[in-house]
Symmetry: C2
DNA sequence: GGGGATTTGTCCGTATGTATT
DNA sequence: TAATACATACGGACAAATCCC
C-alpha cells in the first residue's frame, strides 16, 4: 500500500487536497466499518505500519489520533501495547450531537421532549404489530429479570433506561434505535455530571410509579391497543421529563465534557 | 496555558491518561463550542501556538488533525494560511451515525422509515399549535418562493428537502430538527453517490404529485387538523420512501464515503 | 520484587511544497 | 518573476510506561 507522498495532483486549484494522515485514517477506518478488522484486534506495531504504508512516524501518529478521537482504536504503551480496534460506538455519535446542541444553546428540556416525541410512537408501533403478544412477553421478562438483578437503588435508573431502550428496539427500526441510544447517552452523561456535583435523590415514590407505568405498557401492548399504548407512554415520558428537569434544576443547558 | 508535559499523575493505575494532543484539541474545541471562537476566526500560527501552549510541533499537529476530522477547523498553507475556525456541522454527526449504521448493515429502507416515523408526528404537532395559521403561511411562502427560485429541474429535490426540513423545524424541537437534518444529510450523500454511478431520473410526474402533497399539508395545518395532517404526511413520506428505494434499487445498504 | 526489553509519547532539526505578495 | 511566510512531511533521539522473567 502506497500513499501519495507529495500529493500527486500538484497544484489542485480550489480542490481540497486530503492530507496523508487523513487517507491513512480512512483506510483503517473502512477496514473496521466493513468488519475486516474486528473488536479487540491488534493493529501491527508502528514500525511495521510505517513500512507497510510507506509513511513516516509523525504521519502515522496523526492518523492514530484521528481514529482514537473516534474511539475506533485505543493505543497503549508497553511491551504488549499498540493499537487495538474497537467497534463504532453510539457514545461518539452522541458526543458530536451534543457539540452541536451545546453550541446552539439547546436546553435539556428540549432533548427530553425529543425523547417523548420519538418513543411514544414506538410504543404504539409495538402494540399494533401482529406479534404484540410475544413482544409483551419480552418486555415483561425484562422487567421481572431486572427486578431480581437490581440490588442497590442506585442501579435502578439504569434498568429503567434499559426498558426504554428495549421498547424502541422492539419497534423494529434500527435508525430510530440509534437515535434513542444517543439520547440515552446524553441523559446519562448529563445526569452523572450533575450527580457528581449535587446530591442524588433516590425518589422511592417516583420509582414505584415508574414501575407501575412500565407494567401498564406491557398490558396495553399485549392487548394490542396501539392508540392507548402511545398515549400512555407519552404521558409517562412527559412526567418523567418534568421530574428530571425539576430535579436537575440549574443545569438547564447541555453540558459537553470533551 | 501549560499542559502537563509528562502526565502529572505519573502511574495512573487503570485510569486512561489523555494524551497531550487530545487535551489541546479539547481546549480549542471548547472555545469553539462556547462561541469564544467564531466562524472564520483565524487561530494563531503554529509557532505562536507552540509557544503559548508549551508544546512541540508534532503534538500541535496531532491536535490539528483531530479538530480537522471534526470539521471544527480547516488548515491552509501559504502566506495567509493557518487554521481557520468553523461551526460544528450536522454533516459530521451524520457521518458518524452512518459509520454505525453501515457497520450494522442497516438498509437505506430502514433510514427512510425512520424519517417517516420522525416527520409525521412533527406535521401533526404543527397543526395542533395555536399559531398554526401563521405556520401555514410560513410553509406556503416557502413553496411559492422556491417555485420561482428553482430554474433547473435538478435543483428541485433540494427545494423539496428544504420543505421537509422546515416542517420539522417549525414543530419547534431543536433536537428533533438535528436528527432530521442528519437523515437528510444521509440521503443527500447516498443519492449523490448513486446519481454519479447511474442516470438521474427526473420523474416529472412524481414531482407534481409531491408538490400537490406539500400544498395539501399547508391546508391541513391551516385548518388545525392535527390527526389528518399527520396521516397525510405519513402517507406522503411512505410513498416518497418507496419511490426512492425503488429508483436506487441495487444500492440498498448505507454507503460511507470517508 | 527488581531488571530488562519492547512499544509508544514527546521532542528537535531539516527539507520540501504551496500560496500570497 | 522572486521573495516570503506558512504548513507538510521526514528522520533521529530520548523519555516514559508496561509487561515478562
Amino acid at each position: 500500500m502506497v500513499f501519495p507522498a507529495h500529493n500527486v495532483l500538484g497544484t489542485t486549484g480550489t480542490v481540497r487536497v486530503p492530507k496523508t494522515a487523513e487517507l491513512v485514517a480512512s483506510h483503517i477506518r473502512q477496514q473496521i466499518i466493513r468488519g475486516q478488522l474486528k473488536e479487540g484486534d491488534a493493529l501491527p506495531a508502528e514500525t511495521v505500519l510505517m513500512a507497510q504504508l510507506g509513511i513516516s512516524r509523525p504521519t502515522l501518529r496523526e492518523a492514530f489520533r484521528i481514529l482514537e478521537s473516534e474511539a475506533l482504536i485505543s493505543v497503549r504503551r508497553g511491551v504488549h501495547g499498540g493499537a487495538r480496534v474497537h467497534v463504532p460506538s453510539e457514545e461518539v455519535a452522541a458526543r458530536y450531537a451534543a457539540f452541536i446542541l451545546r453550541y446552539r444553546g439547546v436546553a435539556m428540556a428540549d432533548v427530553y421532549a425529543a425523547r417523548t416525541i420519538l418513543e411514544a410512537p414506538a410504543a404504539g408501533m409495538l402494540a399494533s404489530r401482529s406479534n404484540s403478544v410475544t413482544l409483551a412477553k419480552r418486555l415483561e421478562r425484562y422487567l421481572t429479570e431486572s427486578e431480581t438483578a437490581t440490588e442497590t437503588a442506585s442501579e435502578r435508573p439504569w434498568a429503567a433506561a434499559g426498558f426504554h431502550q428495549l421498547v424502541v428496539e422492539l419497534a423494529g427500526n434500527q435508525t430510530l434505535t440509534l437515535f434513542s441510544t444517543m439520547l440515552e447517552s446524553l441523559f446519562e452523561a448529563h445526569n452523572s455530571k450533575y450527580i457528581r456535583e449535587h446530591d442524588p435523590q433516590p425518589t422511592e415514590q417516583h420509582a414505584r410509579r415508574g414501575e407501575r407505568a412500565h407494567y401498564k405498557l406491557v398490558e396495553l401492548v399485549r392487548a394490542g391497543d396501539a392508540v392507548e399504548a402511545e398515549a400512555h407512554w407519552r404521558r409517562h415520558l412527559s412526567e418523567l421529563s418534568r421530574e428530571m428537569i425539576r430535579s436537575t434544576e440549574g443545569a438547564t443547558v447541555i453540558d459537553v465534557l470533551g
